[in-house]
């Protein structure tokens, strides 16, 4: 006889299981409930999960909308800066927010250009400084969209159910707000001596609202400037302003390499592909302010970068920093608009796009 697995018998001593599990579940419930209550006390709200699944669902919607789709791609600036309700009301199009925090728009734009099913309008949040880089989360997200779109059967799988349940949980519990998990909420929101306030809310349409009254200034601003410079600072320490000023003064225009120009011409081809199917593409430079704007302008002088891009991209391109009715909007952290300005900024943006017959 096969020796090892044919005569196995597990010795299981009797235990007071009702007591053990009753107490363990009570401990768990107290812990989880306590965290939820403490986060509520700190002012946290449950938010929409803004992960890959949500993005893929919106990307599929972009195709389903046909020529009515107004797709927004880019990173956090446009995700925080545009009010989709205002866009919908003023353009008659259906906005689809596909911007991904801390990402580059290129893989998503390339995907839209290659997809014959996409026939809508695209607003690209564009920064010359990022064009030398490739990939990032956008490529990963787009790959997931392609896999989802390639599925031949329509009945729900475990993955569909999992997405639904995850979304249900995340949208109803504070421990998961802003994409955190309970460990991160415990570590950075509950146990932190100076817990972070929830200044950023993610909406069901994937747009986000930032309330900069809830952050500690000027530390928050200084951190953003330091991040743009690529340095680390102790935001609570002294002489930060002068240290940052010194670093900014060291910034020189970056070389306008051939790689960047090739990227622009590559994007031009993508624009042409979308146009050939009846779609439209617009490039928008979202506003920046203060030291962040200064760093960007020192590294990427307008004449060398934006002007070249505007002349060679073959599509309407408009930079908020150089457009009269948009340039006065101030970004409290130097890089993003506050929630109180997004509606007005969006209205002005649509007005100028319409005035130029870009929309």
């Amino acid at each position: 006889m096969p020796s090892s697995t044919s005569s196995f018998k597990r010795e299981l001593a009797e235990q007071p299981w009702a007591l053990i599990f009753g107490a363990a579940v009570a401990v768990f419930a107290c812990f989880a409930g306590g965290m939820e209550l403490q986060l509520a006390r700190l002012g946290y709200q449950p938010t929409v999960s803004i992960g890959k699944d949500h993005w893929v669902a919106e990307r599929i919607r972009a195709n389903e909308l046909g020529s009515r789709a107004l797709v927004i791609i880019g990173a956090s600036r446009i995700q925080l800066g545009l009010d989709l309700g205002v866009l919908r009301a003023n353009t008659g199009l259906e906005p689809v927010q596909l911007a991904i925090d801390a990402s580059l728009p290129y893989p998503v734009l390339a995907g839209l250009a290659q997809d014959p099913a996409f026939k809508g309008t695209v607003i690209v949040d564009y920064y010359p400084q990022t064009t030398e880089y490739e990939g990032g989360p956008g490529a990963d997200f787009h790959k997931s969209f392609e896999a989802e779109a390639a599925k031949t059967y329509a009945f729900p799988t475990g993955s569909t159910v999992e997405k639904y349940l995850t979304r249900l949980l995340h949208e109803n519990l504070r421990v998961y707000s802003d994409g955190a998990n309970p460990w991160l909420s415990l570590r950075y929101r509950i146990m932190e001596a100076r817990p972070q306030n929830q200044y950023l809310i993610t909406m069901a349409d994937r747009s986000r609202k930032a309330d900069y009254r809830k952050v500690k200034m000027p530390e928050f601003y200084h951190n953003r400037v330091a991040r743009t410079l690529g340095i680390q600072i102790d935001a609570g320490g002294g002489n930060i302003e002068s240290l940052l000023r010194q670093k900014i003064n060291e910034q020189m225009p970056l070389a306008n390499s051939g790689v960047w120009q090739r990227k622009v011409s590559e994007m031009r081809k993508q624009v042409e592909a979308i146009r050939a199917r009846g779609g439209r593409v617009l490039f928008i430079g979202m506003p920046s302010s203060g030291m962040v704007r200064e760093i960007e302008e020192r590294r990427y002088p307008k004449a060398q970068y934006w002007d070249y891009f505007e002349q060679n991209i073959g599509a309407p391109a408009l930079h908020s920093n150089y457009t009269p009715i948009l340039q006065d909007f101030v970004c409290p952290d130097g890089s993003h608009l506050d929630m109180r300005n997004r509606a007005a900024f969006t209205e002005n943006l649509v007005r100028i796009l319409k005035a130029n017959r870009f929309l």
């Binding site: 096969p2 090892s4 299981l12 007591l19 401990v27 768990f28 349940l165 995850t166 949980l169 998990n181």
Partner: protein, 470 residues
């Protein structure tokens, strides 16, 4: 469907009360059969048909073997079963590797051949359920199990969801009698079952995914750029990751089966305290190693043949065992290393007694040496290529390069040291024996820690169980 998913939680929350509510063993078995197919279909619905086809074929072949009057007829039917099962496994698992290897072989003699892209999704758990199914036809052929089981019982044996996608490889001779005889779990079995599930998930989610995996992933991404400390942390962490990932899954499977009143055999018995490699394989993935021993090694002659044949058989079995894990020559290399270790160990046993040997045999030297060699052998198992593996080895012994420990690495190394110490301490006992000796308050604390930490680490990206790919 992963055991650490919300979908599985919902699935279990529906199936388990239904199991209790349904009257009669017959109805309960039908429910488990439907639930098991639903469990499998949750991943890729059409692929449930492959299990069904495999089940139908083996059931019919075994029935005919049972009825066959001559040994040659029985042998022919067994060969048919082997061809159908191994053919299925080879097509899905090794097809791409075969054509790629063929193309590489041609390229060495100057012939350029572009291998076709298979573009086939590997059915989850195919290695597990084909081996489980094969155990049935072989046992029927050997006369060790009868062949007149009900088809529905046999189908439940193959597809029973706790063991379906990543084992343990439960044999027909073990599970079919349990399925046939009516059973209802008692409160003690349910309590133990849920405890095993909680502990198994803790091993998988907290230890494998959050303590060890980040250190492993960071190191193996670019081993050449990492210093010696990072290298040792990465390599040791993989020993922890694969152990907790797979043993955690096995513990969940054992616990879930117990909740329904079924006993599954242990799949791991403190393997990192093994005293030599034959002992290691009595403690690591026991259901696979015993399967290979009973159905392959013994069939090749076992220990009844000459030394050279024994060594050859050991190597062959370990190479096949390595390749069972996946379609990559790196797995064959891993299996080959273990084959070599087993051969050396066997040869050493034949050496005449000497002072040196008795010193080397003093505890804990053989255990530590086994652990270190097992850990080093995991390198080709985890590495993406031969170059990647060589780079890992290079970093391990590049003591000249600076290597500043990071917190995550220190935590992983401490966790690994605790694991090895734990294995040494509990070498000859079982989890249930240890847990039984604890006071109820400590038992409650242990389960509470599992529940709370599972909650804390919930909500991120779930990593698929490593053994799903095998």
């Amino acid at each position: 469907m992963l055991f650490n998913s919300l979908t599985f939680l919902a699935f279990f929350a529906i199936v388990y009360p239904l199991f209790w509510a349904l009257p009669g063993w017959h109805a309960k078995k039908r429910l488990l059969l439907v639930a098991s197919y639903l469990f499998y279909s949750a991943w890729n619905p059409p692929y449930a048909l492959i299990i069904l086809a495999s089940t139908l074929v083996d059931f019919e072949i075994a029935r005919r073997i049972g009825r066959a009057e001559t040994q040659s007829a029985k042998r022919s039917l067994l060969i048919l079963s082997l061809i159908s099962n191994l053919g299925l496994l080879s097509y899905f698992k090794y097809g791409q590797l075969a054509v790629d290897s063929f193309a590489s072989l041609l390229a060495t003699v100057g012939i350029i051949y572009h291998a076709p892209d298979f573009d086939i999704v590997l059915p989850v758990g195919i290695s597990f359920y084909t081996f489980a199914s094969l155990s049935y036809t072989i046992d029927v052929y050997r006369g060790q199990i009868r062949s007149d089981w009900k088809f529905s019982d046999y189908a439940l044996f193959v597809s029973f969801f706790p063991h379906l996608v990543a084992g343990p490889i439960v044999r027909a001779s073990y599970l079919l009698p349990q399925i046939e005889n009516p059973r209802m779990p008692n409160l003690n079995q349910v309590g133990w079952g849920l405890t095993f599930v909680a502990m198994g998930l803790f091993c998988k989610v907290v230890l494998a995914d959050n303590v060890f995996a980040p250190v492993v992933d960071q190191f193996y991404k670019n081993p050449a750029a990492e210093g010696w400390f990072h290298a040792w942390a990465g390599v040791l962490s993989f020993s922890g990751q694969i152990y907790y990932d797979f043993s955690g899954y096995s513990l969940c499977a054992i616990g879930l089966a117990l909740c329904f009143g079924f006993y599954f055999p242990d799949n791991f018995k403190h393997p990192y305290a093994a005293r030599g490699f034959s002992d290691f394989w009595r403690r690591w993935h026991i259901s696979l190693s015993t399967w290979l021993r009973d159905y392959l090694y013994i069939s090749l002659g076992g220990n009844r043949v000459g030394n050279f044949r024994i060594y050859l058989n050991l190597m062959l079995v370990m190479l096949i065992g390595g390749m069972w894990h996946g379609a990559s020559w790196m797995f064959a290399l891993w299996g080959g290393l273990h084959g070599l270790f087993l051969i050396i160990e066997r040869a050493m046993r034949k050496l005449p007694e000497s002072r040196w040997l008795s010193v080397l045999a003093q505890r804990p030297l053989p255990e530590l040496a086994t652990f270190m060699l097992v850990t080093l052998a995991w390198i080709p198992f985890r590495a993406t290529s031969l170059e990647n593996a060589a780079s890992v080895f290079g970093s391990l012994f590049d003591f000249g390069a600076p290597s500043i420990p990071e917190n995550a690495q220190l935590v992983a190394i401490i966790a690994m040291l605790v694991t090895v110490r734990w294995h040494f301490a509990l070498r000859d006992t079982s989890l249930e024996a240890v847990f039984s000796k604890l006071m109820p308050a400590v038992q409650t604390l242990a389960i509470s820690i599992c529940l709370v930490t599972l909650f804390l680490y919930s909500g991120g990206d779930q990593r698929a169980f490593l053994y799903f790919q095998f």
